[in-house]
Each structure stands twice: as C-alpha cells, then as structure tokens.
C-alpha cells in the first residue's frame, strides 16, 4: 500500500544549476545557483556561497566576515548549531513596567563610533549585544517584554546564519509576492491556492492557462499540481514572443514534467488552430518534416486526423531566450525549425480535443480573452479568471449572466490574516495585506 514519491538522495543535495532559497531569519530569497562561488546580496550584506554545493538542503551556514565587518562581505561555513540570542544572553533584571523610562536618547553609554568598532571586532552577534546591554542605562529597568523586543530587533540586525532551502510552490509564491506584488499581479498565496482547487487540477487531463502577468507563477502552480510522471498537460498561452517563466524555472521541475507545459503565443496557437499555420505571413511555408520527436508528440493526442502540417519558418524577431531555455527539450533533429512551431501544432491538437479547465490571469480586460478561450473547454468543466481589481470582473460577470453558456458564476475575494502566537502576546499581525485580487469562477455548459 505504501507507495509515495521515491525521492533520490541526490534530490536533497544542493547542486549547481538548481534554483535555491536562501533564508535568513524571516527573509527568504530565490537564487539560481549557477556556479560554485556565486554571490548573493541579502540586505546590505554580500555573501559568497562557495562551499554550499553538495551540502544537504536545510543545512545552516554561518556567515564569516571576509575582512573587516564594515565591508559587509561574507563567506559561509556549514554549521550544526544556530545560536539563539535569548539563550546566550542572560538577563538578570527586568522592571515591572516602563513608567520610569524617559526616552532622551542618552540611555546608551557607548558612542556610535564605539559601537562600530565593536561590530568590527566582535566574533559573535551575542558579544556585540551583550556589550550594548551592559552599557545601557535603561535596559535593566525595561520590562521583560520590552527587553525581548529589544533583543529581537538587535538579533535581526546582527543575526549571522543562513539556511539553504529547496524551492517549492509555497516558498516561490511567498518570495515573489513579498518582493514585489505588482510583478505577480498581486496574486496572494490564498488566492493562488484557490485557483488550483477551483479548476480541479489533478494528474490527468488537459488544462488551459492564459497568463500575462504572473511571471510564470500560475503555470508553476498548475504544473506542480499536475505532478511528475503523470499524464496531465498544461497549455500555457501568453501574449508576446516569450512566456514569462521565472517561477516555472525556479521549481526545478524535471524535464519530463516541464515538457508537459506547452508554452505558446496565444496568437500563433490560435492561428495554428484556425488556419493551420502559425504565422500570418504566407511566404516561406514548407512541409514540416516528420521527425521522431514531433511524431511522438502527435501520438499523445489520439485521433489526430487533421491535415495541419504547414508551419512557417521562424520569424527572425522571435525570442531567442525561450528557445535557449528549452533548447535541450526541443527537436534536435532539425535545427532549422524552432521548437515553438512544434509547440503550436501540439497546442492546436490539444485545443482540437478540448480541455478540462480554463484559468485566466491577465493584465488585459478579461472579457475578450475569456469569450474566445471558453470555446476550447469541455462542457461541465470549471474555469476561473483572476484580476487584481474587481471592476473588470464585475463587468464580465454581468456579460456572462446574460448568456446561457456558463453556470454557477461566483465573484469572490479573500481576506487573509496572520497571527503572532506568543505567550501573553497573541494577536493578529498589525500590518496585513489588503489586496488579494478577485476570482470569477464557474462551469462551462453544453
């Protein structure tokens, strides 16, 4: 009965080429670990990662100052034990409240210059902070709460450990949203998680995504739920020449899985579907040679009896990066025909058979896009449209209500709250994110 994912030992080792997550306290950063001694910037610190290769994910590294601490350049060293400031610094006295504390800016006896020297000389953060406390007039009068708050603040400033984690959908979505919500259309994790469930993504079936603003996050989410070594496929449409795939690449998907995400330009794919050729130019058309790789693909789509074999030569302006990124996956047989031609054909074949779900996360007004793409969805199947403000979805809602080809239309928004859970100090976080975006969902009817 017990089966489950068999994970190879090597999956848990940090490898060159992996996307990795660097965690320093609550701060997380995504990084492509391209070469052994690549350097990352965390806050104002510059950290050389030499030595992490081959270590296990979840390992903790101590930051070692390269020369003096002023330069803020560090190397890293594998370590077993993270030192917790509170465990190191023993606090002898606490006041019962802060009534006698007047904040006159004079409570610290050390001068700024002295503190700077201390930072450069001291080996450990706890040493610095211990000195600061010893030289404070008010620290021992502060309440235990205030003292802890102070230590937390200082710990944040002087904390000198990193952890390297393996990216997954959760960490990638959090990092991208935190870094710049606008870059992922304000798509917060609660809303993202609901997109996946609302359209019933699982290991089987063919799923359609139109995404023009999430930097690959939605494609990553859907492909992740489709899974490794399964039959499910994702047709990922995008405007422009190149799909955004930052998040998709950061997932470190195996090739087999990544191949089942067929990224196509929406115009080319639809032109291929409707017109049997994926460029608008009528020049330079030639027969596609039936190579092994595209024949293989065609077999995946059963009952393909369409004579859509004509594809055009690559337009010279078409993005190199996409091709580059996926070069290894593409047909090596015929270097003259870029992979995207085959992708368009492949996508058109899947569209022909209709798909099992539709997700739209766009920057454009969703109405035209939905009305066009809903035709490719099988009756009874779910769809969801994400937009970062509600008004365009309100409009679309009314437009769809007056038609009879969708059911169970629902416009929702979310509200997510995080909590601080600490003894005697449990409360919701004082800052919350108010912008979750909106989802319009429903089912396609026959």
């Amino acid at each position: 009965m017990l089966t489950g994912k068999v994970s190879k030992m090597s999956d848990n080792m940090i490898k060159i080429g992996d996307y990795i997550v660097i965690q320093k306290q609550n701060f997380k950063k995504l990084h492509k670990y391209n070469k052994p001694n690549s350097t990352i910037t965390v806050g104002r610190d510059s950290i050389n990662l030499n030595g992490i290769e081959g270590c296990r994910y979840f390992s903790t590294f101590k930051m070692i100052s390269k020369s003096n601490k002023k330069a803020r350049e560090y190397t890293v060293e594998l370590t077993d034990e993270v030192v917790n400031l509170k465990d190191e610094i023993e606090i002898k006295l606490s006041g019962s409240d802060n009534r006698n504390i007047v904040d006159d800016g004079l409570s610290q006896k050390l001068t700024a210059a002295e503190i700077e020297d201390l930072k450069n000389d001291a080996n450990r953060a706890s040493d610095i902070i211990e000195s600061l406390i010893t030289n404070s007039n008010t620290f021992h009068n502060k309440t235990e709460f205030s003292q802890e708050k102070y230590l937390k603040k200082k710990e944040k400033k002087y904390f000198e450990y990193l952890q390297i984690l393996k990216p997954n959908l959760r960490t990638i979505a959090e990092i991208m949203y935190k870094l710049e919500p606008g870059k992922v259309q304000n798509l917060r994790i609660d809303t993202l998680s609901q997109i996946i469930t609302t359209v019933n993504i699982y290991c089987e079936g063919n799923h359609l995504l139109y995404d023009s603003g999430s930097n690959g996050l939605v494609a990553a989410a859907l492909l992740s739920s489709i899974g490794q070594n399964t039959n499910g496929r994702l047709v990922h449409m995008h405007p422009g020449n190149m799909s955004q795939k930052q998040a998709l690449l950061a997932m470190n998907f195996p090739e087999e899985q990544l191949k089942r995400c067929i990224s196509v330009n929406v115009y080319s794919a639809l032109r291929q579907f409707y017109q049997g050729c994926d460029t608008n130019s009528n020049e330079n058309i030639k027969e596609i040679p039936i190579t092994e790789s595209n024949q293989l693909k065609r077999k995946l789509v059963e009952n393909d009896n369409e004579p859509r074999r004509k594809i055009a030569k690559p337009d010279e302006e078409v993005s190199e990066p996409v091709i580059d990124e996926l070069k290894e996956n593409s047909n090596k047989g015929d270097p003259k025909i870029p992979k995207w031609h085959f992708d368009n054909i492949y996508a058109a074949q899947i569209l022909e058979k209709k798909l099992d779900s539709l997700v739209i996360t766009c920057k454009e007004d969703p109405q035209n896009i939905f009305l066009e793409l809903v035709n490719f969805i099988k009756p009874g199947r779910p769809f969801v449209i994400y937009y970062n403000v509600s008004e365009p979805l309100q409009n679309l809602y009314l437009a769809l209500k007056s038609q009879s080809n969708v059911a169970a239309l629902k416009l929702t928004s979310n509200w997510m709250r995080n909590y601080q859970v600490l003894p005697e100090r449990t409360r919701p976080d004082v800052i919350m994110n108010g912008a979750s975006g909106y989802l319009l969902s429903g089912y396609v009817l026959k």
């Binding site: 609901q194 996946i196 290991c203 899974g227 009756p379 309100q394 809602y397 009314l398 979310n414 995080n418």
Partner: protein, 332 residues
C-alpha cells in the same frame, strides 16, 4: 465512479451534481432504489423544480441541460469542491478556502504521502486524494468508528479507495500505526487537542522532513499547538486565517435628484419634487451575512532529521501553559 477522472458522459454508478438555480445537489445515478418497505422502485429525485427520473441521466453529456417540469438544471461532474458543498454532514466540515490553503501549505503534489486526523465527513480527504494521486496516498484516521466506516464506503463508491486508507483509530492515544513511521510527507490534524498529536506527527514524517498543518477553531488550541511545535523542533511556525467573501454583482439603477433648479424662480408649471432621472452602476455588494470565522490554520516545517534542533523545553514559567494533559475537549 465519477470522482476519479474526468469523463464525458454519465454512467450508471456515477455521482453527479445537479446544478439548479444556484443550488447544488449530489445524485447517485442508480436506476432503482429500495423504498421503506424494502421494495425495489424506480429512483426519482425530487427537486424544487419537479421530479427527476435518475435513469434518464445515463448517457447524457456532463454539462448538459436537463428539463424539469417547472424549469431546468444542469448536470456537472463532481469535483472535491462541489462535493464539499453537497456531502452529507456528519461533522463540521472544512470548506474550499481553507482546503486550498491546507493543500498549499502542506506542499502536496502528486506522489506525496499525507496523513489526516480526523476524517470527519471526508470533505478535505477528497481534496487530498485528488492532489496526491496517482502514486501518493492518503492515510486518514477518525476516533469515531461509525464515521470511519461511512467514509470508507464513500471512498469505495467514489472509486478512489486505491488512494486512501481510512481507519478507525484514536491517534492521540495510540499514535499513527508503526508502519507509517517515517513515511509521511505531511500531516494534517483537525482534532480537539491537536498539540497531543504532534509527537506522533514527528514520528510519522519522513527523515527528509515534511510539513505540518493543524486546523483549530479556538485560539487556545492554537496557543498550545504552537508551543508544542516549537518544543518538537519545528521551524517556520505560522498561524493564519482565510476568509473567502462572495460579492453579489448586479446592475443597480439609482435615482438622481436634481436640486439646482431651485436657484431660480420656476415657470408657471411647478417642477415636480421628485427624482429627476436615473443612473445605473454595476455594483459588487458585500454580503450582510458572511462566514466570519472557520478556524485558524497553524503550519510548520519539520526539518530533515539531520537538521532538527534538540527538543528545547520552554522556560519554566511557561510550563503551566503546556501542561495540558488533563484538559479534555469535546467534539466540535
């Protein structure tokens, strides 16, 4: 059988969803049923819009419109989300907004092994099964024997029993079974005293680490759970709440009241002192009554064995908070 994969047409034995004027009904497609006297009779499903002969559903395409004497509806293939809205409640259940976040926070993908306690009405279980299939597995436990039995029958009927093992077991008292030690990628607890299940979760999670999530309606449960998670070497402990709100979209026409004409003496015929016209807006109204709280989700990471910190006891003055062995909690 319609819970397993997408299909085009309704077969006998399927469970289908009848969507009728904003309501969902789950119907088992059986042509005949037994009546109270034990006699076999034709299966007729009564709807507010008239009776539906279930036999007539067989062979129609999912997404089709079906005619009823007083209106019409549509037949949809059930998803775990629709099932959550139609299943027979044997306990309070977890709904899609929380389910979505639970799946997300547990890092579940096809192939994962996940443990759930308790099974309850099986709302979350269906979503877990969908996410981890085809190679993964769900182990779900409930201390209520009858509930566990019904859940098993349901999984059989829904053709997903391959992917799930539903057992009657008091996991607080007895732990997860030995054979699960070190086998789980993730553990989910929806129990009155989740903190008492954490040590069992640690045993069950793989050596390479895994995720934990607990769903609790009350903050006291969360407080204890967070403390015990910390003592057991979990990291990234987070507590959150998700509320989904539905917006009602309508075109609303509202009157316009012109007052400017009063600045001037009017002509002989008096101007009517009524709204002078209309304007309309597409409005999204927030509901007067909406879910205000379902539960707190507390999530955490158990690092791989090599990276787990030794279980630290919190300071002595906090110990009263964690000495909770004698607290009893009922069912919610």
């Amino acid at each position: 059988m319609s819970f397993r994969n997408y299909k085009d047409k309704v077969d006998e034995g399927d469970t289908v969803i009848l969507y009728l004027s904003n309501n969902l009904y789950a119907i088992d497609v059986k042509t005949e049923v037994k009546n109270k006297k034990g006699e076999t009779i034709e299966n007729v499903f009564q709807t507010p819009f008239g009776a539906l002969k279930v036999r007539n559903l067989i062979g129609i395409q999912y997404g089709s419109r079906i005619e009823l004497s007083k209106g019409w509806g549509h037949i949809l293939q059930p998803t775990p989300e629709m099932w959550s809205l139609t299943l027979p409640h044997r306990t309070q259940i977890i709904y899609t907004p929380d389910i979505s976040m639970i799946l997300f926070q547990l890092d579940l993908v096809p192939g994962c092994v996940v443990i759930e306690a308790g099974t309850g009405s099986g709302s979350l279980t269906h979503a877990l099964i969908r996410r981890v299939r085809p190679e993964g597995h769900v182990y779900t436990f409930d201390f209520h024997e009858h509930r566990s039995k019904i859940a098993r029958e349901e999984f059989e009927a829904h053709d997903v029993a391959d992917f799930v093992t539903a057992q009657h077991r008091d996991i607080i008292r007895d732990g997860f079974s030995e054979e699960l030690n070190g086998k789980a990628d993730a553990v989910f607890l929806d129990l009155p005293s989740p903190w008492l299940g954490i040590s069992h979760a640690v045993k069950a999670i793989k050596e390479q680490g895994g995720r934990f999530c607990s769903f609790s309606p009350c903050i006291e449960q969360v407080q204890r759970t967070c403390l015990v998670l910390q003592e057991n070497g979990f990291q990234d402990i987070n507590t959150m709440e998700i509320l989904q709100r539905e917006l009602k979209v309508t075109k609303r026409t509202i009157p316009v009241r012109d007052l400017s004409f009063l600045k001037h003496k009017s002509s002989e015929s008096p101007v009517e002192e009524k709204p002078s016209g209309d304007t309309s807006y597409v409005v999204a109204a927030r509901p007067v009554s909406t879910p205000g709280h379902t539960g707190f989700l507390t999530v955490a990471t158990l690092p791989p064995a090599f990276a787990r910190s030794k279980a630290k006891k919190t300071k002595t003055e906090d110990s009263e908070d964690t000495d909770t062995s004698n607290v009893t909690h009922g069912d919610r």
